[in-house]
Amino acid sequence: MAGPTTAWLRLLLRFALDGLAGQRGRSGLTMLGMAIGTASVVSVVSIGLLGRAYVVSLIEGVGSNLVFAYGTGDGVNPEEVAFDDLDVFRARVPGVRAMAPVLSSTETMSIGSEPEVVNVLGATPEYAPVRNLVTVSGRFPTQAEERSAEKVCVVSRELARRLWGDRPPGSDEWLRVFGLRFHVVGVYREGVESAAAVQKSEAAGLTVIVPFSTFRNLSPVRTVDVVYFQAQSPQAVSGVVDAVREVLKSRHHALSSFKVESLQGYLVLAQRVSDAVTLGLIAIAAVSLLVGGIGIMNIMLVTVTERTRDIGIRLALGAGRRDILLQFLLEAGILSLAGGIAGVVIGAILPWYAGVLYGVDVPVSALSVVVAFGVSLAVGLFFGLVPARKAANMNIVDALGYE
């Protein structure tokens, strides 16, 4: 074919735009259908990403790159982590940023007039950052207090509420633990209060935390409840798990008494689940995209029928079937592309605006924008093909209105 192709395409584009301009209301509604489909795909992906980020934050909120080891108490000869093990862990487990052993017992306190069982934990100052504990008021015990085994404690927010109501404890509040008076220096809560959903959280509920050394001196408890390790990086986590297992194996009769776990397994599982849910949601959103595409086909079929004479005239004047095919494909393409653009804008702005309203950082996936855009165009062209072929293959004599 002679002539520059771009000029030819521009001409057909012009004809296509003329055609669409001739039926603005109908074109607008068809675009709206496409826009809704595209917008739902984009926003569903955002919702999926948001859900995934939320679940990951729940798990990581327990403590990032966390490894924990504890005796299960099961089996014929149950063993627990011993105090001596801790020094060996420090010496032989590489890639650890911080280690936090936890001692645990219970104490019955009378709160109001009710007797309540309260967890008492003995933990080093590293415990707070490793487990992502947040001070609500006051502070955690310091390294100095740990070294000199001071009788200080922090209490969980739940316990503080039961003891003092909503007001923060004064500077001279005391609690009786191990039969002695402990100075309350702070109130804490868990960074993410869902740790219990992932595993038992010893710091949840009515809990008092005292320095590790103080606990060790005053309590008859001779085993470590659980040891937390914070690995230096996510990649180091599995190395830490292996090294901790090695130490336990070399110092105890059977590794089967112990559990050494990390949150990576939970993370991978949670990500897989949220990905599956997102995929399902996308499939549902894709249905609306499909409906939009069928809308385009429907409108284009009506348009082709209405413009039968127009098409006949163009063919009689020497337009090729390719010219007509392309003109109507362009019309369908413009409808779906314009709908796609509008949909992407709506689908990106709505979640973003909702995020601004609720103070949440809502992710908008660039990939989902590109994919939704591409898919809407493809849907338009696919569903535009049938009407365009109908137009291009018209019998000229009939189309001109003879017979």
Binding site: G3, L11, L315, G318, G320, L400
Partner: protein, 243 residues
């Protein structure tokens, strides 16, 4: 202005074969509800360059069918058809489109202008679809033809804003824009009042005088009288001579 290559090819071919149209044994059978109806039995027809031929016949005589075949609108027929030296019978629809575009100019009974376009755009359409000229050159050619038709001050008007005579003249300008070898007019005065009809026939006569080859289908003997030759379609065959 550049002469379109197609026009040059057409005139070169015409120099060798002065016949613009040569039909040999052209036959067409419709199937209506499975019953075959012979529209054309065997048409032999030669039209040479510069002729003004009126094709007449009663309704249902097959003259419309003949027009569709001559105009390359209908490719399904038997027999042989040479147009401007090219054998066009048996060619595919895709290869007929450029031939129709370059060799034939149509003038329809009901004008068939596109209502959403200005008459300048309407007249430029065949040139634009030919795709062998720049856009500007197409519009320049269309403007020249429209000015010749006395529509120089109506270029930007839509067909609906013109009188019916002006509309038919715009359609004639459109038919001429690619300098075709053959002008095909299908009842060109059928939708016009007698005064306007006279005016349009005058335009066609002028084109004939200027050397154009015209074939006009009509059922009106007064209109046919303007032509230089009369062909009657009877019993599916073409007969030369007066009615």
């Amino acid at each position: 202005m550049l002469t379109p290559p197609s026009a040059r090819v057409a005139s070169a071919a015409a120099a060798h074969a002065p016949e613009v149209i040569r039909l040999a044994g052209v036959a067409k059978t419709y199937h209506r509800d499975g019953v075959p109806v012979a529209a054309l039995r065997s048409v032999d027809l030669r039209i040479t360059r510069g002729e003004f031929v009126a094709i007449m016949g009663r309704s249902g005589s097959g003259k419309s069918t003949l027009l569709h075949i001559l105009g390359l609108l209908d490719a399904e027929y038997e027999g042989r058809y040479e147009l401007a030296g090219t054998c066009v019978s048996g060619q595919s629809a895709d290869s007929l489109a450029p031939l129709r575009n370059r060799l034939i100019g149509f003038v329809f009974q009901s004008f068939h202008l596109l209502p959403q376009l200005s008459i300048l755009e309407n007249a430029a359409l065949p040139a634009l679809y030919a795709r062998d000229r720049e856009r500007d050159a197409c519009f320049a050619a269309a403007r020249t033809r429209l000015v010749e038709m006395g529509l120089g001050d109506r270029l930007e008007h839509r067909p609906g804003e013109l009188s019916i005579g002006q509309r038919q003249r715009a359609a004639i300008a459109r038919a001429l824009v690619n300098a075709p070898s053959l002008l095909l007019a299908d009842e060109p005065t059928g939708a016009l009042d007698s005064r306007t009809a006279e005016e349009i026939l005058e335009v066609l006569g002028d084109l004939h005088a200027a050397g154009a080859t015209l074939v006009m289908v009509t059922h009106d003997p007064e209109v046919a009288a303007v032509a230089s030759r009369l062909v009657q379609i009877r019993d599916g065959r073409a007969h030369d001579g007066v009615a």
